[in-house]
């Protein structure tokens, strides 16, 4: 068992202290339908990691409301409010804490009732991982679909399905595998372009099987226990090389000599001497120093609460943002967002809300509801309002501009809340998906699919996509080769030699959007773009092909990873011919052959 309080006597204290000082922090959320065993699971996690004291257990044992007849009712440890204990249900988000030898955890325990979508979204907003409980006897319920969907909508990168109550289905491997398949299908429905990965773990929350320790009763399961899984999940952080965003919270001015701008870095990193641009004024200057109570810092990165002084006297106040001048955020008054509505007062068009985005507050109104999502069928339908717990895609216009990134790139700089100015209630949460006033600097030529046949022929002075393709003899394509950089380089050579205009692009540092823009530019220029991502220990960049697919909206996009996975072995570099003959490579080359243009009509 990987829990810290074990072997306390044996561990030298200095070691223990260092270990705890060095722990990192993982936030996860739990979701499940009523009675799937969520409270029991959390009680079990707390109990097994010794986050529960004997007097608290005593209170549970002797409590008037211990409903369970067999083993202890762990849910009484967590269901904190009177109403909950009396009704035996969980009615609000509760936060729980425990730590193991590896890291500290914060659980956002959210209720499963339909009317509490908003609580689930709340818990998910800060989570690095989501645990979705599924009752092995009942299988996937509509609620489970909702939970997985909301977790994915809120951008939680890691979802684990805990198949609970395995003790009640005789620890059946067959039942587990059936549910595993159902969850794979669900993952595809939620994100068709690049299926979401959902890890499945068979557990019994009540008995403790596969929660902390491996179950003796499910020898057929060789994966991680729930706690092992959670100990390994990477904590979500953008790369230090992500674009710098520093919303100014507060100006510190103790006297005339010092003027510092206090805030928490939303993304990227900063060093003294770095150039920064101020939005909205667009003035640029350099960072003079990074001031903290503990002395000046040589560098600070995402998540750090710091104070910056600047080289020039620039007028700056709360709500302004300091950014990387090379990679500024979007600046716009018009944007589209996924919205979770959280209040009985509905979201209606042309009604003014206060919108809070980073440290900036503006007024905004919804101009159009593009669709409402049925979180159970995942179908979009049209709507003119969003009610409590509805989720929809909404277009907003604000009275002054926001400086934002898309939520998919940056959870802090891409999210906002809406407040009703009359009641002051928090009524909605938004995740920005699009800048509606977008002007792209890259690839001014239109995508071929966006051109009508008439445009292609009636504007003879403009360079058309068809002309471009005809000149080089093939249509463009974007081919995803996963982390296979060497294969990409060799393919590039082969294609080049056979008269294709091909180019390999590598995403070195998960800068998905820059890579997307590069690939798009190459595509518009008619090039066969072979793109890969540098290998990262933590996770596959599975979003990248999805993002590119969504941008290009073309059939000439190939995800060749699976083809490569099927290849018998790594090609031997000294034996090109044998490799060229391998079915995996042949199938890619055949597909590329199909891009050749015999006559331009095919593309007009």
């Amino acid at each position: 068992m990987a829990v810290s309080q074990q072997n306390v006597e044996a561990a030298p204290f200095e070691h223990l202290l260092r270990q705890h000082l060095g722990h990192d922090l993982l936030r996860f959320t739990t979701a499940g339908s009523v009675d799937d065993g969520k409270s029991t699971l959390i009680g079990r996690l707390l109990y097994d990691s010794k986050a529960v004291y004997e007097d608290q257990m005593q209170a549970v044992r002797s409590g008037r409301l211990n409903r369970s007849t067999g083993p202890l009712d762990f849910s009484l440890l967590t269901d904190g409010l009177r109403a909950e204990r009396e009704q035996g249900i969980t009615i609000d988000v509760a936060y729980r804490y425990f730590s193991t030898a590896r890291r500290k955890f914060i659980i956002a325990d959210t209720p499963g009732h339909e009317q509490y979508t908003r609580n689930m979204a709340t818990g998910a907003s800060t989570a690095d991982a989501a645990v979705v409980l599924v009752d092995a006897r009942k299988g996937l319920l509509p609620q489970s679909r909702r939970h997985a969907y909301i977790a994915s909508l809120l951008g939680i990168p890691h979802i684990v399905a805990a198949i609970n109550k395995m003790d009640l289905v005789d620890y059946s491997e067959q039942i587990f595998h059936g549910l595993q398949n159902d969850l794979q299908t669900l993952a595809k429905q939620i994100r068709p372009e690049a299926a979401l990965s959902i890890q499945c773990i068979p557990i019994s929350a009540l008995e403790g099987d596969n929660v902390v320790t491996h179950s003796q009763r499910m020898p057929w399961y060789s994966g991680p226990t729930l706690v092992e899984y959670l100990e390994q999940v990477p904590v979500t952080r953008l790369k230090d090389s992500a674009a710098f965003r520093f919303p100014v919270q507060y100006v510190i001015r103790p006297g005339d000599e010092f003027r510092g701008f206090a805030g928490q870095i939303a993304s990227g990193s900063v060093r003294p001497g770095d150039a920064v641009m101020v939005l909205p004024s667009r003035q640029t200057t350099r960072v003079q120093s990074i001031v903290t109570f503990d002395g000046e810092l040589p560098v600070a990165a995402e998540g750090a609460s710091i104070t910056l002084t600047l080289e020039d006297e620039i007028d700056l106040s709360r709500g302004d943002v300091l950014v990387d001048p090379e990679r500024p955020p979007q600046v716009s008054r018009r944007f589209a967002a996924n919205v979770v509505w959280m209040h009985e007062v509905p979201l209606e068009l042309h009604k003014q809300w206060l919108l809070k985005h980073t440290t900036r507050q503006v007024r905004a109104e919804a101009h159009r509801i593009r669709s409402r999502v049925d979180v159970i069928t995942m179908q979009h339908s049209s709507a003119t309002a969003l009610g409590l717990n509805d989720i929809g895609v909404v277009e907003f216009e604000s009275t002054s501009p926001l400086f934002f990134d898309l939520y998919a790139e940056n959870r802090i700089a891409g999210s906002f809340i809406l407040i009703d100015p009359l009641t002051n209630a928090t009524v909605g949460a938004g995740m920005i998906t699009r800048n509606l006033a977008q002007k792209k600097a890259v690839a001014t030529s239109q995508l071929p699919s966006a051109l009508t046949a008439e445009e292609m022929t009636s504007l003879p002075r403009l360079v058309t996509a068809a002309e471009r393709f005809q000149k080089q003899g093939h249509a463009p394509a974007a081919i995803w080769l996963g982390t296979q950089a060497s294969l990409a380089q060799r393919l590039e050579r082969i294609l080049f030699d056979s008269g294709h205009n091909a180019l390999w692009v590598e995403d070195k540092d998960r800068d998905l959007l820059s890579t997307r823009d590069c690939v798009r530019t190459l595509y518009v220029a008619g090039i066969v773009a072979l793109y890969t991502a540098a290998h990262h220990a933590e996770h596959e960049p599975s979003h990248l092909p999805a993002i590119i697919h969504a941008t290009l909206q073309s059939a000439h996009v190939l995800d060749a990873r699976h083809v490569l996975d099927a290849a018998p072995s790594q090609p031997d570099a000294s034996d090109d011919d044998a490799w060229l003959q391998s079915p995996a490579v042949r199938s890619i080359l055949n597909w590329i052959e199909g891009l050749r243009i015999s006559s331009p009509e095919r593309y007009s």
Binding site: Q5, F13, Y53, L81, Y97, S269, S305, K508
Partner: protein, 321 residues
């Protein structure tokens, strides 16, 4: 970073800066500290007149240090409020006066003078009623007379079941009451501090800290705390299963004989209602080491939490911190 390895000259190459390579401090204490500082700064920007409730205990000590950090090199831009029940340990009061003077913080001490004149005490009224008058009532009066619209508190969600549901910005109606069913959702790090007249907000920057985190941080940051936390031979009486220090206002009952024992306080409250624990932990590492062996929660030594199942929730609904 995106890299184009071979590029035709007419295609613009995006100019991207390189990664910095230096990993940020990703320890949980660094994340908690940064989150708390963010909350303190948000609140100071959001509210016209915030105040920090200063209870002199270990959590208050950490909160105070975080406030110093949040506004450095400026001074803490709000006063500290100590609700003095007159039953506090003399060592706490001495520490309070010295330490706040040393760091240059503005201190307000407020007590329910009327109730004290009427002789309010836990012996006469019982702990519930006494707390109601000397803590809850006194606090609400102090907030009102000071015109404070926001009050920082050092409460942690791991302390007690009903606290686990507390928001970071915890909304109180004009009577100071908490409605657990009608809390504002809190997403990401966006807080809604909008108030109507008479309403106020309690803000809990230490929400996500645990008792162990507090001690680790005190150790790492070398934060001064009241000496009562360190074990020492002290005079105690054993009463109703707990050990009470005989310092300050605590009359002995018939047949009670004070004894000398090596004890320390795990949490600090009023003398008659906070028990000591038997311990030889007289340094921070020893206290932390002892934490790992505890079988019982820190509030167990507080009489107030055990009057009735769910008593903390009831008190909070009424306006207790």
């Amino acid at each position: 970073m995106t890299q184009l390895l071979e590029v035709a000259p007419e295609i613009p190459i995006p100019v991207l800066t390189a990664g910095i390579g230096a990993p940020a401090d990703s320890s949980h204490l660094a994340s908690l500290e940064a989150e708390s500082i963010h909350i303190l700064r948000e609140a100071v920007a959001d509210f016209a007149r915030p105040v920090m409730l200063y209870s002199i205990g270990k959590d208050s000590s950490v909160l105070l240090r975080l406030a110093q950090k949040a506004f450095h090199p400026g001074k803490i831009p709000f006063p500290l409020l100590h609700v003095d029940t007159s039953y506090k340990f003399p060592e706490m009061v001495a520490f309070r006066d010295n330490y706040t003077r040393e760091i240059g913080a503005e201190l307000i001490v407020h007590g329910n003078r009327q109730a004290l004149q009427d002789g309010a005490s836990p012996f006469k009224l019982g702990t519930q009623k006494c707390c109601g008058l000397l803590k809850t009532r006194a606090l609400l009066d102090a907030l009102e007379s000071g015109g404070f619209d926001a009050a920082f508190g050092g409460a942690r969600r791991d302390e007690e079941k009903s606290r686990a549901k507390e928001r970071i910005y915890s909304f109180r109606d004009s009577a100071g009451q908490w409605d657990p069913r009608n809390q504002r959702p809190e997403l990401w790090n966006h807080y809604n501090g909008r108030l109507a007249k008479g309403e106020h907000i309690r803000i809990f920057p230490l929400s996500n800290w645990t008792e162990l985190d507090i001690w680790l941080y005190i150790y790492k940051e070398n934060i001064p705390i009241v000496p009562l936390y360190f074990a020492k031979e002290r005079e105690v009486v054993v009463r109703g299963g707990s050990m009470l220090l005989t310092q300050g206002p605590i009359p002995l009952l018939p047949k009670e004989v004070p004894q000398r024992r090596v004890v320390r306080m795990r949490s600090l409250g009023c003398v008659p209602c906070t028990g000591a624990i038997e311990s030889t932990a007289d340094t921070l590492p020893k206290i932390i080491q002892e934490m790992f062996t505890f079988q019982r929660s820190e509030r167990e030594n507080r009489a107030i939490d055990h009057d009735e199942e769910g008593s903390m929730e009831l008190k909070k609904r009424e306006g207790y911190f």
